[in-house]
Symmetry: C2
Subunit: 270 residues, 2 copies
């Protein structure tokens, strides 16, 4: 990238920072966007977060996360649905139009049923999100998260849902870590043109230090990031690009050093 | 399963045993098949292994592994090709008609080129394997191994290669751990009917203890093993079913206890 105009820092990339520290740090480093997480926002408080944001001029590219639709029973389903409505409301309050959906894992050793529950959950949430002015972005996760985090494991699968609903408030969020391995990924990026709500970058390092918290810094791994970015742009996406790295080593560094490294790598490898 | 007539013990499931111990243990427990690994066979010696097998009456369902086709340069490519010929010869010597291909990871951060090298490598090896009477079984690995072990990450992708060659000595090996998450898996099992050369069982446990060595015992995880087994049978596969579990905890148990647990779970969950 020629500039950091489209750079968004996903909050968990700099987990060592509190939310106020994150906003101050990004502001002082001229980063224009941040992506927030509900748990971190709750720590600071929603109203306080909104106030802090106003002070910095930073914009929120997305809120993470809604979803976790498959439920073990009606009670859990009902509480999930209420929770997802709160997530939509928080996204709106934070001034972002995108709620990222991490769809949830397998319940009852029944993958097909779990996948149907995702579609049912989206059908339930979409009218509420639309009325609130928030878009729902299905983020297919890497298949290694199929059991416990997302039964939606490929862009093709997400696209089928997007096509089935064919609704301006439903799209996909594409994270290179989750999709890079997929032989269909370029075809599916083309297919979902006009419905891409977010793009996340990081890298896949070898050997993988950890399934959850072993994501790499851009340039340290095997992902063809620029090629994927170009494909996403050809498919019409020109919005913020979130750097989302869960990495124990990165979290041990001082936040400001980690942020400067992210900026440098964003310019070199995205 | 109603009996253990089709049970094959993949050697790495009982890594705590030497090859002679494995053959003796399986024989004493009336297990009819074993699946061997080249490194373990080399430790005992090929001729000695053949002799030991003759004494027990055990049959070898497959030899693991050939493959690792993507190469950083011509020298590595040439040595890989020679190594794969040796693997074919060893399979024949051990009396199995199936060499499992673990196709190899990404070289030079170029996924497309790495995938082409897999097809080139198979094209190179197939005439030799055919002349030797050995079949090549492409085993698609879970996408979390795309970087370092197999750029072939789905059954669909393996099937396309099988169809492109359309050769009686080329097929697929299906391992539930690698394919269970795939929304296309049942369609692709049907599609590859007549070309299934092996079927491996184990389970996916939550949370995953380790990418490489955290596979679960059948019944301990989320995989719909019986459903997949039934699909593979409908697609015409009635051969040995290999139990292949890489698991640190299992390896700490006495071999005979681990083997008896495998038998019990095979009867209950496969």
């Amino acid at each position: 990238m020629a500039s950091i105009d489209r750079l968004s820092i996903n909050q968990y990339t700099l987990r060592q920072w509190t939310l106020p520290e994150l906003l101050q740090g990004c502001s002082s480093e001229d980063v224009p966007w941040v992506a927030l997480w509900r748990d971190k926002v709750a720590e600071t408080g929603l109203k306080e977060t909104v106030k802090l944001l106003e002070g910095t001029g930073l914009r929120v590219s997305s809120l993470c996360r809604g979803g976790f639709f498959p439920a073990a029973g009606p009670e859990q389903e009902s509480s999930n649905r209420a929770e997802n409505r709160r997530a939509v409301d928080e996204a709106a309050a934070l001034g972002t139009d995108t709620l990222v959906l991490v769809c949830g894992g397998v319940v009852g050793r029944d993958l097909d049923r779990s996948r149907r529950m995702v579609e049912e959950g989206i059908a339930d949430l979409l009218p509420f999100a639309t009325a609130t002015g928030v878009k729902l972005g299905i983020e297919p996760l890497h298949p290694m998260f199929a059991a416990d985090r997302s039964v939606i494991v490929s862009l093709r699968q997400a696209n089928r849902i997007v096509e089935a609903f064919s609704h301006p408030h439903l799209g996909v969020v594409i994270d290179v870590y989750h999709v890079w391995w997929d032989p269909e990924v370029y075809a599916e990026v083309t297919r979902v043109a006009g419905h891409i709500l977010g793009f996340h970058v990081n890298d896949w390092i070898v050997p993988l230090p950890d399934v959850l918290n072993g994501r790499g810094m851009m340039g340290d791994g095997v992902i063809e990031i620029e090629r994927l970015r170009a494909a996403v742009e050809r498919a019409g996406y020109g919005g913020p690009i979130e750097v989302e790295i869960f990495n124990e080593q990165l979290w041990r560094a001082p936040g400001i050093d980690a942020l400067r490294l992210v900026k440098e790598r964003f310019l070199r490898f995205v």
